[in-house]
Symmetry: C2
Subunit: 332 residues, 2 copies
């Protein structure tokens, strides 16, 4: 069957599911969101998402069955060859869910599933801040700290698809408990929960601006509130971001020594505090990393924001996919 | 020119240079060593080593110029495409030394240079404890802690050839100073100097057997002496190896989370204490690593000992080299 040039990218986030119709060059022609909450039941998800995919295709006068394909990023462990979600964080009941094959049967076009951080990395690599890099580390800062690795010009998935868990580098074995059960992971320090812990400590130690802003937000502390206080000159709030930069720098030093990347791309909501943590990150990374790989690497901010995972789906087909052994089955 | 089937592998160690004539299947047909000390001057090294290579070839009735090739592992930063040693630990004066081209001109057969840990990893991967692994981490324990990565079935070198510095994962940012200038690297804990520091602490805290053995060795503490005391039942000496296992386990947990390898091969002289540190290593790795990649990985002891780097040189030619883009220039 002749396929048209469109891909639909889907990013299953904790609160919203983002869907976009993407041209081969990475341009998002149509974009919409669905609330995640009501769609966690697999059959409901497949039906509702399929209807939206059909609408997206029709909006450019095409049929869903003739799409280049549909690529779905899921926060969890994915068997990308089989299109199976082994388990997904925050989506109850998705165990060994054959998402790819089921969606493909319903829509009649190729449907692939991947880890959400992998699709973000593919998007930034081909269309964003990671362009031209052959060895790329992509780090996503949010509730969780995720990541993905492009190595020797191809996505690296590891032995059973779980590679790239940058948030679970152990940066201090005596550090705070992490959601994964271990102690002192990078995520325990710079994931949202870790940042809020630092924020609360700042308030206890006297951070007047921050305390005031939190009160105005009905007692709700968020990374955004901490950034705002820091930008308003609150010293303790500033120190929170210095601390975040320090832990990021230590984690990246290990990565730089181990993987000798050309580039590190940092995205996710928390990266909005870039200017507040970036100088300390760079200084700390240089203190802990070896001179030669530290000189080589460029650490940059992600460019595609919310749509990285959606445009990344384009790379699950064509040339890029062949290189990664997805369409040829070379991985098997 | 028709080449014969032999390769010469050379491993430039701190005290001896090992040379071996290797058959395509990895069998070492001839083996000899030269003292490193007197050969650090490049022109002396090239002349002396070339004569040995000629002798090795003649011993099987061949001419050196018809060898499959000569592969040299050097402890340092190597530009493997150009055959240049950028800088070498413990070899004064080897800066931007064009070792490959110079040796090739002298011998008349292809000569390639690589980082020594890379050749060890290639050797163990094809002929030793890493056979059949597609994602392999190779860790070498000695004076320094080295390593190399085989990823998606090919040696991973990074952006400028320095990837795989497993010894410089930061495992405790407040830890002891490391030789690299940073603090709390894995090498600072489990490199020989780190182990001896633990050994001295053990003696101070009362390790009668160890103290006695050190005295008998004219006051010289070595990892071997600490192992011996531990095997004789000295509790404090045993605790040294438990501590070594703990730091190795923490470092490997980060690696397992990040790279999701099939296998980790651990070699080098200090790995002789395997039984003393291995149980703690496994326990700690499982405590700190995520369940799925921790279940998947097998952590095994290297099999080829001293000759790993020499037989690894075989893989710089033929099929393996093509896959790594060495002979085709695909990396350029």
């Amino acid at each position: 069957m002749t396929r048209n040039r469109w891909t639909v990218g889907i990013d299953f986030g904790a609160t919203v599911i983002k869907l976009g119709l993407v041209a081969p060059g990475g341009r998002v022609a149509r974009f919409l969101t669905l609330p995640s909450g009501t769609l966690s039941q697999p059959s409901v998800f497949i039906e509702r998402v399929s209807r939206v995919v059909e609408e997206l295709a029709e909006s450019v006068g095409e049929r869903a069955s003739r799409l280049q394909g549909v690529g779905i990023g899921v926060p969890g462990t994915v068997d990308s060859r089989r299109g199976t979600v082994r388990s997904a964080v925050n989506i109850p009941g998705w165990y060994n869910m054959r998402l790819g094959p089921r969606l493909q049967r319903r829509l009649g076009c190729p449907c692939r599933v991947d880890n959400d951080a992998n699709l973000v990395a593919l998007g930034e690599w081909r269309f964003g801040a990671g362009r031209e890099a052959r060895q790329l580390v992509c780090l996503t800062l949010g509730t969780g700290v995720g990541g993905a690795l492009i190595m020797d010009g191809a996505l690296y998935r590891g032995a059973n698809g779980s590679a790239g868990e940058l948030g679970h580098l152990v940066v201090d074995p005596r550090g705070p408990r992490c959601g994964c059960g271990a102690r002192g992971c990078l995520e325990a320090f710079v994931g949202t929960a870790g940042i809020l812990r630092l924020g609360r400590r700042a308030v206890r130690q006297g951070a007047p601006r921050l305390a005031e802003l939190v009160e105005r937000a009905h007692g709700r502390m968020t990374p955004k509130v901490i950034s705002k206080a820091a930008r308003m000159g609150d010293t303790s709030a500033r120190r929170v971001w210095v601390e975040v930069g320090r832990w990021l720098g230590i984690g990246l030093a290990s990565l730089v020594n181990l993987l000798n990347p050309d580039r590190v791309v940092i995205g996710g909501g928390v990266a909005n505090a870039w200017r507040l943590f970036h100088p300390t990150l760079i200084k700390t990374m240089r203190t802990y990393a070896m001179a030669s790989p530290a000189r080589r690497v460029r650490i940059v901010r992600a460019q595609l924001g919310n749509s990285a995972g959606i445009v990344g789906a384009v790379l699950l087909w064509g040339e890029g996919a062949v290189a990664r052994g997805l369409s040829s089955g070379a991985n098997e």
